[in-house]
């Protein structure tokens, strides 16, 4: 499968099945477009049939010189010969084998507090309560969760534990105790815990920062961008905005971590479709690591992203990408999570096919110890998998997630983005279509644009 597009003056050709990405001249771009409609995907390299070479040359003759066309065709053949163009998808059988293997649990999202000191209007956790009651996780439940993780992680050495909520700092003592407990188990079990924290920052203080800088491999700081944008959607329970209190704390926190191993992470909604300004606002505040995600909401919510918002959103990503390159080249760059793409040392195809691992490798744990496929499913009883005492008892749902991969999704099979997003978020799919093997279409359009921008950025930074 070939995907080709032009962005910011670059002609880009993606050979989706090999993962090869090429920046080409116009003549090559047009030659590939012509051939793509006529040439089958190849399991082994083969010469382009002579008749088709002639036909292509004729089609291009009106626009390019003979010499340019000849060189372009040579380059195309060379790409075919090195299995970087018109390659076949050879992974379908591989993924079936891959899925038969025994999976291990490698990451937990601990809902350390189902309570929150903010009342964010778009909160999927319903101000921390997740369709349930307010609750704090006890040390005992958290300890059982870590024991469950160790016991079910097989040979996997690195174990990830995210302290999530609600707002985890509302149960800070238990967080500290669990980190201490986890560390005490590492040597005996030959495991290494990577703790992370997702916080709104309200209760952040020097002691917490110091602890996190010592123990947390990553910290996610929630903030939506410009003051008016943030305060509209992220107020305190009594209505006051949170920006003024939180921003100085986050700035200090980011600085104290050496501007690494953290993300300032925001959500954009229908109310701030010009979200590139919020990303740049983060950069102007001095942050170097950031992410802004589209809100996930029922379509009837006034802040939900609607299909008619898409043209503006896609244009925002393009604008942001151009500015991103400019600032990088000027030496004042920053990292935007969705523009970070590792084309050479990125994940293997097994990882790309299996996706986020929700329901198998990644589980969420409620304050009272119930297990769910991920934080987004918490509170939806049909997805209850088991608990930290008995482990996973609902193997039917677990197996449904285990088989959830790119090839199980009709919409993904012919999508150029499938090896980058790996089929997308199961929870988004379920929320919009009632099935985890569908796809959230508006999200797909944004994801595709982000991938195109990321690759353009790679091309531009090599110039």
């Amino acid at each position: 499968m070939i995907h080709q597009y032009k962005n910011n003056g670059y002609d880009i050709v993606m050979d989706v099945n090999s993962g090869a990405v090429h920046v080409v001249e116009d003549v090559v771009y047009d030659a590939i477009a012509f051939l793509a409609e006529r040439l089958p995907e190849m399991e082994e390299p083969a010469p382009i049939p002579e008749a088709l070479v002639r036909e292509t040359k004729e089609a291009l003759a009106a626009s390019y010189s003979q010499e340019d066309i000849r060189e372009a065709m040579e380059d195309v053949q060379e790409l075919i010969d090195t299995e970087q163009l018109f390659t076949k998808d050879v992974y379908q059988d591989f993924v079936m084998d891959f899925k038969k293997r025994k999976t291990v649990v490698k990451a937990l999202c601990l809902h350390i507090a189902h309570d929150c000191n903010l009342a964010c209007r778009y909160c999927f956790a319903e101000e921390g309560e997740y369709h349930g009651r307010r609750a704090l996780m006890s040390f005992e439940v958290g300890k059982k969760a870590l024991d469950f993780l160790i016991a079910n992680s097989g040979n996997r050495r690195n174990l990830e534990v995210d302290f999530f909520g609600g707002e985890p700092l509302m149960n800070w003592e238990v967080v500290k105790q669990l980190v201490e407990y986890g560390r005490s188990q590492e040597e005996a079990h030959d495991k290494k815990f990577r703790f992370t924290l997702t916080t709104n920052g309200v209760l952040l203080n020097d002691e917490i920062m110091e602890f996190c800088n010592r123990e947390m491999s990553n910290v996610v700081m929630s903030l939506d961008g410009r003051k008016e944008v943030n305060d509209r959607m992220r107020p305190f329970r009594k209505g006051a905005g949170s920006y003024d209190l939180i921003v100085p704390k986050f700035q200090k926190f980011a600085e104290s971590r050496g501007q690494m191993n953290y993300y300032v992470r925001g959500t954009f909604t229908h109310y701030n479709l010009d979200f590139s300004k919020d990303v740049l606002h983060f950069a102007d505040l001095g942050f170097k690591q950031m992410s802004i995600e589209p809100v996930v909401a029922a379509p009837d919510e006034p802040y939900a992203i609607k299909e008619e918002d898409l043209p503006q959103i896609l244009e925002e990503y393009d604008k942001l990408a151009v500015e991103y390159v400019k600032r990088k080249k000027e030496g004042r760059g920053f990292n935007f999570f969705h523009f970070m793409l590792d084309l050479n040392q990125g994940p293997c195809v097994a990882k790309r096919l299996s996706g986020c691992g929700s329901g198998t490798e990644y589980l969420a744990v409620t304050p009272w110890g119930d297990l769910y496929p991920c934080h987004q499913f918490v509170g939806q009883e049909g997805f209850l998998l088991g608990n930290v005492d008995e482990g996973i008892t609902n193997t039917e749902v677990r197996d449904e997630f285990k088989m959830c991969n790119v090839y199980a999704k009709e919409k993904c099979r012919n999508c150029f983005a499938r090896f980058y997003c790996s089929g997308g978020c199961a929870a988004n799919s379920y929320n919009f279509h009632g099935s985890i093997t569908d796809a959230y279409d508006i999200g797909c359009e944004m994801q595709k644009k982000r991938i195109e921008c990321s690759i353009m950025i790679k091309a531009a930074l090599q110039d």
Partner: protein, 48 residues
């Protein structure tokens, strides 16, 4: 090649041979929590 610049050298097919060790980070643990992005994760396989 005069008219083509290839941005990456590894192909996905090559990663079938040594891939699937599972040591890499779970994508939702990094920053997103609401959307799935795997292409930006790093490989942590020491034998790749």
């Amino acid at each position: 090649m005069n008219k083509v610049k290839t941005l990456n050298s590894n192909t996905l097919k090559d990663t079938m041979k040594k891939g699937g060790c599972g040591e890499c980070q779970t994508s939702c643990q990094s920053a997103c929590k609401t959307s799935c992005t795997v292409g930006n994760q790093s490989c942590e396989n020491p034998n790749r």
